[in-house]
Protein backbone atom coordinates (compact mmCIF):
# COMPACT_ATOMS: atom_id res chain seq x y z
CA UNK A 1 0.00 0.00 0.00
CA UNK A 2 2.72 2.46 1.00
CA UNK A 3 6.51 2.20 0.99
CA UNK A 4 6.77 4.37 4.03
CA UNK A 5 3.75 3.39 6.07
CA UNK A 6 4.30 -0.35 6.37
CA UNK A 7 2.25 -2.39 8.80
CA UNK A 8 5.03 -2.48 11.39
CA UNK A 9 5.25 1.33 11.45
CA UNK A 10 1.50 1.75 11.66
CA UNK A 11 1.30 -0.88 14.38
CA UNK A 12 3.87 0.95 16.51
CA UNK A 13 2.08 4.24 15.83
CA UNK A 14 -1.31 2.91 16.90
CA UNK A 15 -0.08 0.67 19.70
CA UNK A 16 3.04 2.35 20.98
CA UNK A 17 5.26 0.15 23.18
CA UNK A 18 6.56 1.47 26.49
CA UNK A 19 4.26 4.44 26.26
CA UNK A 20 3.73 6.75 29.22
CA UNK A 21 5.87 8.34 31.88
CA UNK A 22 7.98 6.96 34.75
CA UNK A 23 7.54 8.50 38.19
CA UNK A 24 9.98 8.59 39.76
CA UNK A 25 12.64 8.39 37.06
CA UNK A 26 16.42 8.67 37.09
CA UNK A 27 16.60 10.66 33.86
CA UNK A 28 14.21 12.41 31.53
CA UNK A 29 14.47 14.58 28.45
CA UNK A 30 12.02 16.17 26.06
CA UNK A 31 12.57 17.78 22.70
CA UNK A 32 10.58 19.00 19.72
CA UNK A 33 11.04 19.11 16.01
CA UNK A 34 10.11 22.72 15.27
CA UNK A 35 9.30 21.99 11.65
CA UNK A 36 6.35 19.67 12.31
CA UNK A 37 5.73 20.25 15.99
CA UNK A 38 6.64 16.65 16.83
CA UNK A 39 7.30 16.24 20.54
CA UNK A 40 8.97 13.32 22.31
CA UNK A 41 9.77 12.80 25.99
CA UNK A 42 11.70 9.81 27.29
CA UNK A 43 11.95 8.78 30.97
CA UNK A 44 14.57 6.29 32.14
CA UNK A 45 15.09 4.24 35.26
CA UNK A 46 18.54 2.69 35.75
CA UNK A 47 19.74 -0.42 37.50
CA UNK A 48 23.42 0.48 37.74
CA UNK A 49 24.53 1.10 34.15
CA UNK A 50 21.56 -0.76 32.74
CA UNK A 51 18.27 0.70 31.52
CA UNK A 52 15.83 -1.06 33.81
CA UNK A 53 12.78 0.72 32.46
CA UNK A 54 11.98 3.20 29.71
CA UNK A 55 8.83 5.04 28.77
CA UNK A 56 8.11 7.64 26.12
CA UNK A 57 5.34 10.14 25.58
CA UNK A 58 4.62 12.86 23.10
CA UNK A 59 2.71 13.57 19.97
CA UNK A 60 3.51 13.99 16.34
CA UNK A 61 3.67 12.25 13.03
CA UNK A 62 3.57 8.48 12.63
CA UNK A 63 7.24 8.32 11.73
CA UNK A 64 8.49 10.07 14.87
CA UNK A 65 6.17 8.22 17.21
CA UNK A 66 6.67 4.77 15.66
CA UNK A 67 10.44 5.20 15.51
CA UNK A 68 10.55 6.15 19.19
CA UNK A 69 8.35 3.20 20.12
CA UNK A 70 10.67 0.82 18.26
CA UNK A 71 13.68 2.46 19.83
CA UNK A 72 12.39 1.84 23.35
CA UNK A 73 12.16 -1.87 22.57
CA UNK A 74 15.68 -1.86 21.16
CA UNK A 75 17.32 -0.36 24.25
CA UNK A 76 15.34 -1.68 27.19
CA UNK A 77 17.75 -3.77 29.29
CA UNK A 78 20.79 -2.37 27.50
CA UNK A 79 23.56 -0.34 29.09
CA UNK A 80 24.35 3.36 28.73
CA UNK A 81 27.46 2.28 26.80
CA UNK A 82 25.19 0.46 24.33
CA UNK A 83 23.13 3.62 23.87
CA UNK A 84 26.36 5.55 23.21
CA UNK A 85 27.22 3.11 20.47
CA UNK A 86 23.80 3.24 18.87
CA UNK A 87 23.94 5.11 15.55
CA UNK A 88 21.34 6.73 13.37
CA UNK A 89 21.80 3.94 10.87
CA UNK A 90 21.06 1.30 13.50
CA UNK A 91 17.66 2.89 14.03
CA UNK A 92 17.03 3.51 10.33
CA UNK A 93 17.89 -0.14 9.59
CA UNK A 94 15.43 -1.22 12.23
CA UNK A 95 12.76 1.03 10.72
CA UNK A 96 13.48 -0.54 7.36
CA UNK A 97 11.69 2.12 5.31
CA UNK A 98 13.04 4.67 2.83
CA UNK A 99 13.23 7.87 4.88
CA UNK A 100 13.61 10.96 2.71
CA UNK A 101 15.93 13.74 3.91
CA UNK A 102 12.88 15.86 4.73
CA UNK A 103 11.59 13.24 7.18
CA UNK A 104 14.92 12.32 8.75
CA UNK A 105 14.44 14.67 11.69
CA UNK A 106 11.10 12.99 12.44
CA UNK A 107 12.67 9.53 12.38
CA UNK A 108 15.62 10.52 14.56
CA UNK A 109 13.90 12.73 17.13
CA UNK A 110 13.42 9.85 19.59
CA UNK A 111 17.05 8.76 19.30
CA UNK A 112 18.22 12.29 20.01
CA UNK A 113 15.99 12.46 23.06
CA UNK A 114 17.15 9.03 24.25
CA UNK A 115 20.83 10.00 24.01
CA UNK A 116 20.20 13.28 25.80
CA UNK A 117 18.32 11.52 28.54
CA UNK A 118 20.78 8.60 28.93
CA UNK A 119 24.07 10.49 28.82
CA UNK A 120 23.43 14.13 28.03
CA UNK A 121 24.33 14.01 24.36
CA UNK A 122 22.34 16.55 22.35
CA UNK A 123 24.70 17.11 19.45
CA UNK A 124 22.51 15.73 16.68
CA UNK A 125 20.36 15.55 14.69
CA UNK A 126 20.41 19.27 15.19
CA UNK A 127 21.93 21.66 12.74
CA UNK A 128 25.38 20.88 11.51
CA UNK A 129 25.51 17.52 13.31
CA UNK A 130 27.16 14.56 11.66
Amino acid sequence: MSDLYRDQILDHYRNPRNHGTLEPHDASFEDTNPLCGDRVRIDLRFDGERIADIKFSGRGCAISQAATSMLTEMVKGQTIADVRELTKDDLLDELGIPISPARLKCALLGLKVLKASAYGYTGWPGDGGS
Binding site: L4, C36, G37, G60, A62, S100
Partner: protein
Protein backbone atom coordinates in the same frame (compact mmCIF):
# COMPACT_ATOMS: atom_id res chain seq x y z
CA UNK B 1 -8.69 29.65 -19.46
CA UNK B 2 -7.54 26.14 -20.18
CA UNK B 3 -5.14 24.96 -17.47
CA UNK B 4 -4.17 21.87 -19.47
CA UNK B 5 -2.99 24.07 -22.33
CA UNK B 6 -1.27 26.46 -19.93
CA UNK B 7 0.56 23.58 -18.27
CA UNK B 8 2.29 22.92 -21.61
CA UNK B 9 3.82 26.41 -21.38
CA UNK B 10 5.66 25.40 -18.19
CA UNK B 11 8.67 23.25 -19.18
CA UNK B 12 8.94 21.41 -15.86
CA UNK B 13 5.27 20.43 -15.82
CA UNK B 14 4.76 19.97 -19.56
CA UNK B 15 4.32 16.58 -21.22
CA UNK B 16 8.08 16.61 -21.96
CA UNK B 17 9.14 17.78 -18.51
CA UNK B 18 10.51 15.87 -15.54
CA UNK B 19 7.37 16.86 -13.64
CA UNK B 20 4.92 15.71 -16.33
CA UNK B 21 3.15 13.38 -13.94
CA UNK B 22 3.47 15.61 -10.90
CA UNK B 23 0.40 17.26 -9.45
CA UNK B 24 1.97 20.50 -8.24
CA UNK B 25 -0.16 21.98 -5.48
CA UNK B 26 2.44 24.14 -3.75
CA UNK B 27 2.36 27.36 -5.76
CA UNK B 28 1.71 29.39 -2.62
CA UNK B 29 5.28 28.49 -1.64
CA UNK B 30 6.60 29.14 -5.13
CA UNK B 31 5.15 28.91 -8.61
CA UNK B 32 6.63 27.04 -11.55
CA UNK B 33 8.05 29.08 -14.45
CA UNK B 34 6.69 29.46 -17.97
CA UNK B 35 9.04 29.24 -20.96
CA UNK B 36 8.43 32.93 -21.67
CA UNK B 37 10.18 33.85 -18.42
CA UNK B 38 13.06 31.42 -18.85
CA UNK B 39 13.56 32.57 -22.45
CA UNK B 40 13.65 36.23 -21.47
CA UNK B 41 16.31 35.58 -18.86
CA UNK B 42 18.40 33.44 -21.17
CA UNK B 43 18.13 36.00 -23.94
CA UNK B 44 19.28 38.74 -21.58
CA UNK B 45 22.40 36.77 -20.64
CA UNK B 46 23.09 35.81 -24.24
CA UNK B 47 22.44 39.17 -25.88
CA UNK B 48 22.43 42.08 -23.46
CA UNK B 49 24.64 41.18 -20.54
CA UNK B 50 26.91 43.71 -18.81
CA UNK B 51 26.71 45.67 -15.58
CA UNK B 52 24.14 48.45 -15.53
CA UNK B 53 24.35 52.22 -15.16
CA UNK B 54 28.14 52.20 -15.29
CA UNK B 55 29.48 51.66 -18.77
CA UNK B 56 29.11 53.98 -21.71
CA UNK B 57 29.51 51.13 -24.18
CA UNK B 58 26.63 49.66 -26.13
CA UNK B 59 26.27 46.44 -24.14
CA UNK B 60 26.05 48.30 -20.85
CA UNK B 61 23.39 50.50 -22.37
CA UNK B 62 21.43 47.48 -23.55
CA UNK B 63 21.68 45.95 -20.10
CA UNK B 64 20.49 49.17 -18.47
CA UNK B 65 17.63 49.34 -20.96
CA UNK B 66 16.66 45.73 -20.10
CA UNK B 67 16.59 46.63 -16.41
CA UNK B 68 14.55 49.79 -17.01
CA UNK B 69 12.18 47.91 -19.27
CA UNK B 70 11.61 45.29 -16.56
CA UNK B 71 10.65 48.08 -14.17
CA UNK B 72 8.20 49.49 -16.72
CA UNK B 73 6.62 46.04 -17.11
CA UNK B 74 6.25 45.53 -13.37
CA UNK B 75 4.94 49.08 -12.87
CA UNK B 76 2.38 48.61 -15.65
CA UNK B 77 1.24 45.32 -14.11
CA UNK B 78 0.41 47.12 -10.86
CA UNK B 79 -0.81 50.29 -12.60
CA UNK B 80 1.90 52.48 -11.09
CA UNK B 81 2.67 55.53 -13.26
CA UNK B 82 5.76 56.73 -11.36
CA UNK B 83 8.65 54.32 -11.95
CA UNK B 84 10.46 55.79 -8.94
CA UNK B 85 7.84 54.14 -6.72
CA UNK B 86 8.79 50.64 -7.87
CA UNK B 87 11.83 49.36 -5.97
CA UNK B 88 13.32 46.02 -7.00
CA UNK B 89 14.16 43.79 -4.04
CA UNK B 90 14.89 40.08 -3.64
CA UNK B 91 11.53 39.08 -2.19
CA UNK B 92 8.63 40.10 0.04
CA UNK B 93 10.72 39.57 3.14
CA UNK B 94 13.33 42.05 1.97
CA UNK B 95 10.65 44.57 0.97
CA UNK B 96 9.08 44.47 4.44
CA UNK B 97 12.46 44.69 6.14
CA UNK B 98 13.33 47.68 3.99
CA UNK B 99 10.26 49.52 5.28
CA UNK B 100 10.80 48.35 8.86
CA UNK B 101 14.45 49.40 9.04
CA UNK B 102 14.25 52.54 6.91
CA UNK B 103 10.82 53.99 7.67
CA UNK B 104 10.35 52.25 11.03
CA UNK B 105 13.62 53.18 12.71
CA UNK B 106 13.28 56.78 11.52
CA UNK B 107 9.61 57.29 12.36
CA UNK B 108 8.60 55.06 15.26
CA UNK B 109 9.11 56.12 18.85
CA UNK B 110 8.04 55.39 22.39
CA UNK B 111 4.27 55.12 22.65
CA UNK B 112 3.74 54.55 18.93
CA UNK B 113 1.86 51.46 17.79
CA UNK B 114 2.30 49.14 14.82
CA UNK B 115 -0.71 46.93 14.09
CA UNK B 116 -0.32 43.55 12.41
CA UNK B 117 -2.64 40.53 12.57
CA UNK B 118 -2.71 36.97 13.86
CA UNK B 119 -2.69 35.62 10.31
CA UNK B 120 0.64 37.10 9.21
CA UNK B 121 3.50 35.19 7.67
CA UNK B 122 6.63 35.34 9.86
CA UNK B 123 8.11 37.84 7.40
CA UNK B 124 5.45 40.38 8.42
CA UNK B 125 5.88 39.66 12.13
CA UNK B 126 9.57 39.37 12.92
CA UNK B 127 10.79 42.66 11.34
CA UNK B 128 8.18 44.56 13.38
CA UNK B 129 9.16 42.75 16.57
CA UNK B 130 12.76 43.82 15.97
CA UNK B 131 11.97 47.43 15.06
CA UNK B 132 9.39 47.89 17.82
CA UNK B 133 11.93 46.62 20.37
CA UNK B 134 14.57 49.01 19.00
CA UNK B 135 12.27 52.06 19.01
CA UNK B 136 10.23 51.45 22.16
CA UNK B 137 7.05 51.26 20.11
CA UNK B 138 4.38 48.65 20.67
CA UNK B 139 3.15 45.82 18.45
CA UNK B 140 -0.61 45.20 18.52
CA UNK B 141 -2.76 42.69 16.71
CA UNK B 142 -5.97 42.24 14.81
CA UNK B 143 -7.37 38.88 15.83
CA UNK B 144 -8.70 36.26 13.44
CA UNK B 145 -12.28 35.13 14.03
CA UNK B 146 -13.65 31.58 13.92
CA UNK B 147 -14.23 31.70 10.17
CA UNK B 148 -10.75 32.99 9.38
CA UNK B 149 -11.56 36.67 8.89
CA UNK B 150 -9.80 39.62 10.47
CA UNK B 151 -11.61 41.16 13.44
CA UNK B 152 -11.84 44.72 12.14
CA UNK B 153 -13.26 45.94 15.46
CA UNK B 154 -9.76 45.37 16.83
CA UNK B 155 -8.42 47.75 14.21
CA UNK B 156 -11.09 50.36 15.05
CA UNK B 157 -10.33 50.10 18.74
CA UNK B 158 -6.58 50.45 18.20
CA UNK B 159 -6.90 53.29 15.70
CA UNK B 160 -9.17 55.18 18.12
CA UNK B 161 -6.24 55.49 20.55
CA UNK B 162 -4.55 57.79 18.04
CA UNK B 163 -1.21 56.00 18.59
CA UNK B 164 -1.18 53.79 15.51
CA UNK B 165 1.49 54.80 12.97
CA UNK B 166 1.35 51.79 10.69
CA UNK B 167 -1.02 48.93 9.88
CA UNK B 168 0.84 46.04 8.22
CA UNK B 169 -1.20 43.08 7.07
CA UNK B 170 -1.42 40.52 4.32
CA UNK B 171 -3.56 41.04 1.24
CA UNK B 172 -4.31 37.29 1.11
CA UNK B 173 -3.50 34.80 3.87
CA UNK B 174 -1.08 32.05 2.84
CA UNK B 175 -2.86 29.57 5.14
CA UNK B 176 -6.53 30.52 5.39
CA UNK B 177 -6.70 31.92 1.88
CA UNK B 178 -8.71 34.83 3.25
CA UNK B 179 -8.79 37.80 0.90
CA UNK B 180 -8.66 40.65 3.39
CA UNK B 181 -10.81 43.79 2.93
CA UNK B 182 -7.76 45.87 2.13
CA UNK B 183 -9.69 48.86 0.73
CA UNK B 184 -11.55 49.15 4.03
CA UNK B 185 -8.34 48.75 6.03
CA UNK B 186 -6.62 51.48 4.00
CA UNK B 187 -9.58 53.84 4.43
CA UNK B 188 -9.81 53.24 8.18
CA UNK B 189 -6.07 53.65 8.72
CA UNK B 190 -5.80 56.81 6.62
CA UNK B 191 -8.75 58.34 8.44
CA UNK B 192 -6.64 58.09 11.60
CA UNK B 193 -3.39 59.23 10.04
CA UNK B 194 -1.81 55.77 9.99
CA UNK B 195 0.09 54.32 7.03
CA UNK B 196 -0.67 50.91 5.51
CA UNK B 197 1.76 48.26 4.34
CA UNK B 198 0.24 45.33 2.49
CA UNK B 199 2.08 42.03 2.25
CA UNK B 200 1.03 41.11 -1.28
CA UNK B 201 2.99 37.85 -1.51
CA UNK B 202 -0.26 35.92 -2.01
CA UNK B 203 -2.24 38.81 -3.50
CA UNK B 204 -0.15 39.88 -6.48
CA UNK B 205 0.05 36.41 -8.08
CA UNK B 206 -3.66 35.74 -7.91
CA UNK B 207 -5.74 38.94 -7.98
CA UNK B 208 -5.82 42.02 -10.17
CA UNK B 209 -3.90 44.58 -8.09
CA UNK B 210 -4.27 48.25 -9.06
CA UNK B 211 -1.96 50.14 -6.75
CA UNK B 212 -3.18 53.54 -7.99
CA UNK B 213 -6.72 52.68 -6.96
CA UNK B 214 -5.80 50.81 -3.79
CA UNK B 215 -3.96 53.74 -2.21
CA UNK B 216 -1.88 51.55 0.11
CA UNK B 217 1.31 53.31 1.17
CA UNK B 218 3.54 50.27 0.73
CA UNK B 219 2.95 47.03 -1.14
CA UNK B 220 5.39 44.10 -1.03
CA UNK B 221 5.49 41.02 -3.25
CA UNK B 222 7.74 38.20 -4.50
CA UNK B 223 8.35 37.52 -8.19
CA UNK B 224 8.94 33.82 -7.58
CA UNK B 225 5.34 33.25 -6.48
CA UNK B 226 4.00 34.86 -9.66
CA UNK B 227 5.84 32.94 -12.39
CA UNK B 228 9.03 35.00 -12.04
CA UNK B 229 12.46 33.86 -10.86
CA UNK B 230 13.62 33.50 -7.28
CA UNK B 231 15.52 36.60 -6.25
CA UNK B 232 13.00 39.02 -7.72
CA UNK B 233 10.50 41.07 -5.78
CA UNK B 234 8.99 44.49 -5.50
CA UNK B 235 8.46 47.13 -2.90
CA UNK B 236 5.98 49.74 -3.99
CA UNK B 237 6.04 52.89 -1.88
CA UNK B 238 4.45 56.31 -2.28
CA UNK B 239 7.03 58.78 -3.59
CA UNK B 240 6.66 61.30 -0.75
CA UNK B 241 7.33 58.55 1.80
CA UNK B 242 10.26 57.01 -0.06
CA UNK B 243 11.86 60.41 -0.56
CA UNK B 244 11.63 61.21 3.13
CA UNK B 245 13.00 57.81 4.20
CA UNK B 246 16.71 57.25 4.83
CA UNK B 247 18.42 54.63 2.65
CA UNK B 248 18.28 50.98 3.76
CA UNK B 249 21.62 49.80 2.35
CA UNK B 250 24.46 52.09 1.34
CA UNK B 251 26.91 51.61 -1.51
CA UNK B 252 27.25 51.93 -5.24
CA UNK B 253 24.35 52.89 -7.47
CA UNK B 254 22.38 54.50 -4.65
CA UNK B 255 24.38 57.75 -4.48
CA UNK B 256 24.55 60.95 -6.43
CA UNK B 257 27.83 62.16 -4.99
CA UNK B 258 30.24 60.79 -2.38
CA UNK B 259 32.89 62.60 -0.41
CA UNK B 260 34.93 60.97 2.33
CA UNK B 261 32.57 62.28 5.00
CA UNK B 262 29.19 62.67 3.28
CA UNK B 263 27.09 61.43 0.44
CA UNK B 264 24.06 62.61 -1.45
CA UNK B 265 21.49 59.96 -2.25
CA UNK B 266 20.48 59.10 -5.75
CA UNK B 267 16.94 59.74 -6.93
CA UNK B 268 14.26 57.08 -6.65
CA UNK B 269 14.26 54.21 -7.24
CA UNK B 270 18.07 53.91 -7.23
CA UNK B 271 18.30 55.27 -3.67
CA UNK B 272 16.96 51.93 -2.43
CA UNK B 273 18.85 49.67 -4.82
CA UNK B 274 22.42 49.67 -3.56
CA UNK B 275 24.96 47.57 -5.39
CA UNK B 276 24.81 45.65 -8.66
CA UNK B 277 21.18 44.69 -9.15
CA UNK B 278 19.89 41.26 -10.06
CA UNK B 279 19.10 42.35 -13.61
CA UNK B 280 18.30 38.93 -15.07
CA UNK B 281 15.88 38.29 -12.23
CA UNK B 282 14.26 41.66 -12.85
CA UNK B 283 14.01 40.80 -16.56
CA UNK B 284 12.35 37.51 -15.65
CA UNK B 285 10.02 39.27 -13.23
CA UNK B 286 9.02 41.72 -15.96
CA UNK B 287 8.40 38.87 -18.37
CA UNK B 288 6.30 37.11 -15.73
CA UNK B 289 4.14 40.21 -15.34
CA UNK B 290 3.63 40.32 -19.12
CA UNK B 291 2.82 36.62 -19.13
CA UNK B 292 0.23 36.96 -16.37
CA UNK B 293 -1.28 40.05 -18.00
CA UNK B 294 -1.55 38.02 -21.21
CA UNK B 295 -3.61 35.42 -19.38
CA UNK B 296 -5.54 38.20 -17.66
CA UNK B 297 -5.53 38.61 -13.89
CA UNK B 298 -9.31 38.62 -13.75
CA UNK B 299 -9.39 35.32 -15.66
CA UNK B 300 -6.74 33.87 -13.34
CA UNK B 301 -8.77 34.92 -10.31
CA UNK B 302 -11.91 33.42 -11.82
CA UNK B 303 -10.11 30.16 -12.58
CA UNK B 304 -8.83 29.95 -9.02
CA UNK B 305 -12.26 30.66 -7.56
CA UNK B 306 -13.68 27.81 -9.61
CA UNK B 307 -10.98 25.28 -8.86
CA UNK B 308 -10.97 26.22 -5.19
CA UNK B 309 -14.74 25.78 -4.99
CA UNK B 310 -14.43 22.41 -6.73
CA UNK B 311 -11.64 21.32 -4.37
CA UNK B 312 -13.62 22.51 -1.38
CA UNK B 313 -16.66 20.46 -2.42
CA UNK B 314 -14.62 17.37 -3.23
CA UNK B 315 -12.61 17.52 -0.02
CA UNK B 316 -15.73 17.86 2.09
CA UNK B 317 -17.00 14.61 0.57
CA UNK B 318 -14.33 12.93 2.66
CA UNK B 319 -15.28 12.29 6.27
CA UNK B 320 -13.12 13.89 8.95
CA UNK B 321 -11.66 16.57 6.71
CA UNK B 322 -11.31 19.86 8.46
CA UNK B 323 -10.71 22.96 6.30
CA UNK B 324 -9.54 26.21 7.88
CA UNK B 325 -10.68 29.63 6.76
CA UNK B 326 -13.60 31.26 4.99
CA UNK B 327 -15.82 29.75 2.27
CA UNK B 328 -14.38 29.46 -1.26
CA UNK B 329 -15.93 32.65 -2.65
CA UNK B 330 -13.98 34.72 -0.10
CA UNK B 331 -10.58 33.15 -0.57
CA UNK B 332 -7.65 32.84 -2.89
CA UNK B 333 -6.53 29.48 -4.27
CA UNK B 334 -5.30 28.10 -0.97
CA UNK B 335 -6.84 25.35 1.15
CA UNK B 336 -5.28 24.34 4.45
CA UNK B 337 -6.76 21.24 6.03
CA UNK B 338 -6.28 18.23 8.22
CA UNK B 339 -7.49 14.70 7.64
CA UNK B 340 -8.76 13.20 10.89
CA UNK B 341 -5.95 12.91 13.39
CA UNK B 342 -3.36 11.97 10.78
CA UNK B 343 -0.40 14.31 11.08
CA UNK B 344 -0.02 16.69 8.13
CA UNK B 345 3.49 15.41 7.45
CA UNK B 346 2.20 11.87 7.13
CA UNK B 347 -0.50 13.11 4.75
CA UNK B 348 2.11 14.92 2.66
CA UNK B 349 4.43 11.89 2.55
CA UNK B 350 1.67 9.59 1.33
CA UNK B 351 0.58 12.16 -1.26
CA UNK B 352 4.20 12.42 -2.36
CA UNK B 353 4.22 8.69 -3.06
CA UNK B 354 1.39 9.42 -5.49
CA UNK B 355 3.28 12.29 -7.13
CA UNK B 356 1.30 15.03 -5.44
CA UNK B 357 3.23 17.98 -4.03
CA UNK B 358 1.56 19.78 -1.14
CA UNK B 359 2.98 21.66 1.81
CA UNK B 360 2.73 20.43 5.39
CA UNK B 361 3.70 22.22 8.58
CA UNK B 362 2.94 25.67 9.89
CA UNK B 363 3.69 27.45 6.59
CA UNK B 364 5.72 30.15 8.36
CA UNK B 365 2.59 31.17 10.26
CA UNK B 366 3.17 29.69 13.70
CA UNK B 367 1.09 32.25 15.63
CA UNK B 368 -1.88 31.50 13.38
CA UNK B 369 -1.55 27.76 13.96
CA UNK B 370 -1.32 28.46 17.67
CA UNK B 371 -4.52 30.49 17.39
CA UNK B 372 -6.21 27.61 15.52
CA UNK B 373 -4.93 25.17 18.14
CA UNK B 374 -2.97 23.19 15.55
CA UNK B 375 0.57 21.83 15.49
CA UNK B 376 0.47 21.67 11.71
CA UNK B 377 -1.77 21.62 8.68
CA UNK B 378 -1.62 20.30 5.13
CA UNK B 379 -1.96 22.92 2.41
CA UNK B 380 -2.94 22.58 -1.22
CA UNK B 381 -2.59 25.71 -3.34
CA UNK B 382 -3.66 26.24 -6.93
CA UNK B 383 -2.43 28.26 -9.85
CA UNK B 384 -2.93 28.76 -13.56
CA UNK B 385 -1.71 25.27 -14.50
CA UNK B 386 -3.90 23.33 -12.07
CA UNK B 387 -6.98 21.58 -13.36
CA UNK B 388 -9.90 19.68 -11.88
CA UNK B 389 -8.00 16.49 -12.70
CA UNK B 390 -5.33 17.62 -10.21
CA UNK B 391 -8.01 18.02 -7.55
CA UNK B 392 -9.37 14.57 -8.35
CA UNK B 393 -5.93 13.03 -7.87
CA UNK B 394 -5.54 14.90 -4.59
CA UNK B 395 -8.84 13.54 -3.34
CA UNK B 396 -8.05 9.98 -4.49
CA UNK B 397 -4.76 10.11 -2.67
CA UNK B 398 -6.43 11.45 0.46
CA UNK B 399 -8.69 8.39 0.31
CA UNK B 400 -5.54 6.29 0.35
CA UNK B 401 -4.33 8.20 3.42
CA UNK B 402 -7.59 7.28 5.11
CA UNK B 403 -7.31 3.65 4.24
CA UNK B 404 -3.63 3.39 5.27
CA UNK B 405 -4.43 4.95 8.61
CA UNK B 406 -7.67 2.97 8.79
CA UNK B 407 -9.83 5.97 9.51
CA UNK B 408 -13.50 5.10 9.79
CA UNK B 409 -15.43 5.22 6.54
CA UNK B 410 -12.32 4.69 4.40
Amino acid sequence: MDPVEIREQFPLLSSHGVGRSVVYLDSAASSQKPAAVLDAMRSYYENDYANVHRGVYALAERSTEAYDNARRQVAAFFNVADLGEVIFVRNTTEAINLVAYSWGLANLGVGDVVVISEMEHHSNIVPWQIVCARTGSRLEFMRVDGSGRLVLEDLDRLLATGRVRLVATCHVSNVLGTVNPVETIVAKAHAHGALVLLDGAQGAPHLPVDLSALRADFYACSGHKMCGPMGSGMLFGRRALLEAMPPFLGGGDMIRQVTLRDSLWADLPAKFEAGTPSVADAVGFGAACEYLSGLGMQAIHQHELEITRYAWEQLLELPDIEIYGPPPEERGGVIAFNSGDVHAHDVASILDEDGIAIRAGHHCAQPLHERLGLAASARASFYVYNSRADVDRLVDSLRRVRSIFALPGA
